[in-house]
């Protein structure tokens, strides 16, 4: 099968949806004529024209809010945030409007919007540009939060997200854009809410999402080769809805859990998962659940320290080995 970069796989998914449904429109800063800040939409404006790809001014609250309104009218907007960190400028729209309009209207109004963009640190852009808000957004019922870790999942999940009738907050990673995976050309969809066992193992479950999946897979190889530990790697793929079954099944099998996320620890995604495990698999645990998150401070700029602040392969290995 052919290999595709994560960004190209996303583009293929977006293009297939643009072609499938005339209501799909892509709006964001530099998405059209500039080909996207990270080249996800490269060539699309030339191919699909001004109506389907629109360059927005730097007005996130305005254009995201506009997209929410348009989605209420039956348009299916895919809004790009150049960085998910800029979602904070549009927070009111994302949380107060998109996530609640269906509820407050007693189910009369739908909001089928996708808000996508990279949500990660690790690239030396400092605290204002390195946010990972999946936990904060998923805290609000009415939102769906998706974090694809591979090109295959990125394509399948963006298509599922566009077809979804609820607001989907789709978080990518600038450090994955250039990585390649095998991706079929066809029109497949990866359903939202299904975790993926990216590697089978029997001694410990490493439960994670986003780029940490890639690091966990590398760590699992070292654990196997050098420490005789067989790690299973569970990729959540979607934060809300959350595939509880796959998590619990894995922990029941391995009896140990290490939760890894780039997010910070307080009220992180893994705090929820840790609770889930103690609630539903308490008797199966041979050791307390461990968490590895970013070091609990705003993102530091200094490149070597930033690498240290967010989880890395070495720290995952070390954390796995501390579990009795």
């Amino acid at each position: 099968m052919r290999s595709l970069e994560y960004r190209d796989a996303l583009r293929e998914g977006l293009s297939q949806e643009i072609e499938r449904d005339e209501n799909v429109v892509i709006i964001g800063e530099e998405v059209a004529q500039y080909n996207g800040a990270y080249k996800v939409t490269k060539g699309m404006w030339e191919k699909y024209g001004d109506k389907r790809l629109m360059d927005a001014p730097i007005s996130e609250a305005g254009f995201i809010g506009m997209g929410i309104g348009a989605s209420m009218m039956g348009v299916r907007p895919v809004m790009e945030l150049m960085f998910y960190s800029f979602a904070y400028v549009a927070w009111d729209q994302l949380i107060n409007n998109a996530a609640t309009v269906r509820y407050m209207s007693g189910g009369k109004i739908n909001c089928p919007i996708v808000v996508r963009g990279p949500a990660n640190g690790g690239t030396g852009v400092g605290a204002t540009h390195s946010h990972t808000p999946e936990n904060a957004i998923a805290n609000m019922p009415g939102t769906k939060v998706v974090c694809p870790a591979t090109a295959y999942d990125a394509k399948g999940l963006i298509k599922a997200s566009i077809r979804d009738n609820d607001p989907v907050y789709f978080m990518e990673n600038t450090m994955l854009y250039g990585e390649t995976w095998e991706v079929p050309e066809d029109d497949y969809v990866v359903p939202i809410g299904v975790a993926d066992v990216k590697r089978e193992g029997s001694d410990i479950s490493i439960i994670t999402h986003g780029r940490c999946v890639v690091m966990a897979l590398k760590a699992a190889e070292v654990l196997e080769a050098e420490h005789d530990v067989s790690a299973e790697v569970i990729d959540l793929r979607s934060i809300r809805p959350l595939d509880e079954e796959t998590i619990i099944e894995s922990v029941m099998k391995t009896n140990r859990a290490l939760l890894v996320e780039e997010n910070r620890p307080f009220c992180g995604v893994d705090a929820q998962i840790s609770h889930l495990i103690q609630e539903k698999a308490f008797d199966y645990l041979d050791a307390p659940v461990k968490r590895l998150s970013a070091i609990d401070a705003p993102a530091i700029y200094s490149p070597p320290l930033e690498k240290y602040q967010i989880p890395n392969v070495d720290r995952i290995i070390k954390a796995a080995l501390t579990i009795g």
Binding site: I58, G124, G126, A127, T128, I300, Y308
Partner: protein
């Protein structure tokens, strides 16, 4: 309202007439120092010594230096991520700025902020802000702070032509005018927000600054390649702030020579190279001012070269300093987060503050 008049003899206006030859040479030197610093940092970036983004100020030097040079003791500055020029202008050293770019412990923010986040409150410089438009309410707030505390001063808040479309900026304009805040919003209009030309990002009549009329606020517009002109217009805004505690929105036409940031993959695509060359040829702020000083018989070529040479040396030394400096210790990641955790003996809150599992 003073409108753009290229022919005005700014050199003889009140604020410029009072300048001594030494002060004029000082202004030229300040601009050249920014240019050489930026060139040196670009070199460091291409060698992999600097991470992330690097937004260079080349071409816009007369705006920062012109504005800062008319500031008094109680006039403050705040800007966006294109912040190196303003930083050097207020007197931050090349060493601490370069070391910050390198992410070293000797940097102005101890390696924690990076290129977009320089600060020096002791020099009335409040950053260095990465979120477009995010600094604009802070600018109003600094002006509010001055007024509230009974200090006659102002806050110069710089932003780009793309930033005028952030909601927070519009809210700030209203607050500033409603509450008579001594804030001066300076739009550094370099024609582009990233790869988007001004006409593709903003709808306006005549100019962006005219939007102030909707907020019953004074506005002004001038060119940014002639430092005399910048000084003249900023001085008027400062007079308004000091004398009437009224805000001003001023738009200064300028130009950036490099890509939006050094990582701007499309830097050669969204504008013609001829456009850049034409500006450099006729409006380069350093050359324009140098020519004026030649005409005024204040400087000669030899002196100019010496200034340029010593600025290059200063920038090279700063890079050496940055290279030699240590990275911050890993333990410093948890420093500077809270006042209380940095001052544990004076802590008054209780409970756990940081939440990592230990490994």
């Amino acid at each position: 309202m003073v409108k753009k008049t290229a022919d005005l003899e700014y050199g003889s206006s009140r604020v410029n007439q009072s300048l001594s030859p030494e002060q004029k040479i000082g202004l030229l030197r300040d601009m050249i120092r920014i240019r050489r610093f930026e060139e040196r940092s670009l070199k460091a970036y291409s060698r992999g010594n600097i991470a992330g983004f690097l937004h260079l100020y080349n071409g816009q030097e007369a705006v920062a230096i012109g504005a800062i040079s008319v500031c008094g003791e109680n006039d403050h500055l705040i800007t966006a991520y294109r912040d190196h020029g303003h930083a050097l202008g207020v007197g931050m050293s090349m060493n601490e700025c370069m070391a910050e770019l390198y992410g070293k412990a000797t940097g102005c923010s101890k390696g924690k902020g990076g290129s977009m986040h320089f600060f020096a409150p002791d020099k009335n410089y409040w950053g260095g802000h990465g979120i477009v438009g995010g600094q604009t309410p802070l600018g109003a707030g600094i002006a509010f702070g001055l007024k509230y505390r009974g200090i006659t001063g102002s806050c110069l808040c710089f932003l780009g032509d793309g930033a005028v479309n952030q909601g927070a900026f519009h809210e700030s304009l209203n607050l500033a005018s409603l509450w008579d805040l001594p804030v001066i919003y300076v739009i550094e209009n370099n024609g582009y927000s990233m790869g988007t030309s001004q006409s593709r990002s903003s709808r306006y009549t005549e100019c962006l600054a005219k939007r102030a009329e909707g907020y019953d606020m004074a506005w002004d517009q001038c060119f940014g390649h002639d430092i005399y002109e910048v000084r003249d217009h900023i001085q008027k805004a400062i007079d308004r702030a000091h004398g009437e505690s009224r805000p001003t929105l001023i738009e200064i036409d300028t130009y950036r020579y490099e890509g939006h940031s050094v990582a701007d993959a499309n830097k050669k695509i969204y504008r013609a190279p001829e456009e850049i060359e034409a500006y450099k040829k006729t409006k380069d702020p350093i050359n324009v001012f140098y020519s004026k000083l030649i005409e005024e018989e204040i400087i000669n070529e030899k002196q100019f070269k010496e200034i340029s040479q010593s600025a290059s040396e200063e920038a090279n030394k700063a890079a050496e300093f940055a290279e030699r400096s240590p990275y911050p210790e890993p333990s410093s990641i948890l420093e500077d987060v809270y006042w209380e955790t940095d001052n544990p003996e004076q802590r008054s809150s209780k409970g756990r503050i940081f939440f990592n599992d230990e490994f």
